[in-house]
Symmetry: C2
Subunit: 200 residues, 2 copies
């Protein structure tokens, strides 16, 4: 069984959303699957000394334009939500909890949460929205929401963030293909060639 | 006559070098030409509060790997030079001086200077190297090198940098197609579609 594509992301990262809409089909074309690994980008930004894109002078203004254009380029429904960015610790923990129990549902949750926020403008940082999204993928919020307040799942997420930092993750999406790092949805053509032809 | 693709760059920007090896063929496929506009990225970094890529923790290490891989992906000869980055004010002024007198030679100079630095490891900040590169494109260094110390050409470069900042340029390569901004060599697929099909 070949290694999965490891896909580190933050639920509040719009370029991660764009990539998430394409990466499974790309992986499948080469007999791979995708292992989603949500992290909290704020921790990575602290290490790298960077900031959320939209807060940076000039770059922030351009990024908003680039995002909507890139979404049209990819054919992915997108509208920059307000507020942006939002806290995604709840969504990330919910994903971890689901992935321990039902990987297919966890994968469906990635897409449902991303689309709720970036296509439908629903604030996934709010517990009522998170509750709805969990229901949409057939999970029981009365089971998940209390569980993600437990120390064990909090520790799992901390460990996943630490693992990402230790592997050099500083932004999102950040993908590893057989250990090779690729940052950004715009590296997907390189990911595809790497999968098709091997290291270049 | 359709508008040229405006191509803002710094002679010390490796992703600009990669793009410069492809942009003219891309433009020609759509009946366009390329207008090269060298700037000094340091000024843009000050406005945007950013730093040279390789100086940023985590991101810097990744960037070195991404650069050599991206060059292989594009089939462009590349080796990260030492020292890096270097001062490019001389090369930028020489380009401006040439472009006022002989646009074809100015264009040849862009490629000769980029290749000298990023493919051949020659430090274009050194005046003897700049002199050689000028000779390689058939320019007379005894005419160009004194001329680029004159106030008029210094002012021209300052104005070009100010123009870039006023248009929101914060990195390189930064391209405008009929006013639409595209940042990064990885936006060339979007540039190509914009040229082929119009705004999307």
């Amino acid at each position: 069984m070949p290694n999965p594509i490891e896909f580190y992301f933050d639920f509040s990262s719009p370029y991660s959303y764009l990539a998430s809409e394409k990466i499974e089909a790309l992986a499948a074309r080469h007999g791979r699957r995708v292992q989603y690994k949500p992290i909290l980008l704020g921790a990575a930004f602290q290490v790298a000394g960077t900031r959320p894109l939209v807060d940076i002078p000039l770059k922030g203004e351009y990024s908003k334009r680039d995002l909507v254009r890139s979404a049209r380029f990819e054919g992915v429904p997108f509208a920059l939500p307000q507020p942006f960015p939002v806290a995604t610790v709840g969504a990330a923990r919910a994903h971890l909890w689901l992935s321990d129990r039902d990987p297919a549902r966890a994968q469906a949750f990635v897409h449902a949460a991303f689309r709720a926020y970036f296509a439908q403008g629903r604030n996934i940082a709010q517990s009522d929205v998170l509750e709805q999204v969990l229901r949409e993928v057939g999970a029981d919020p009365t089971e998940v929401l209390p569980a993600i307040q437990q120390p064990a799942i909090k520790e799992r997420l901390r460990a996943q963030v630490d693992e990402a930092l230790a592997r050099g993750v500083f932004g999102a999406p950040f993908m590893f293909v057989d250990g090779e790092p690729f940052w950004g949805h715009d590296r997907m053509p390189q990911v595809e060639r790497w999968l098709a032809e091997g290291p270049f």
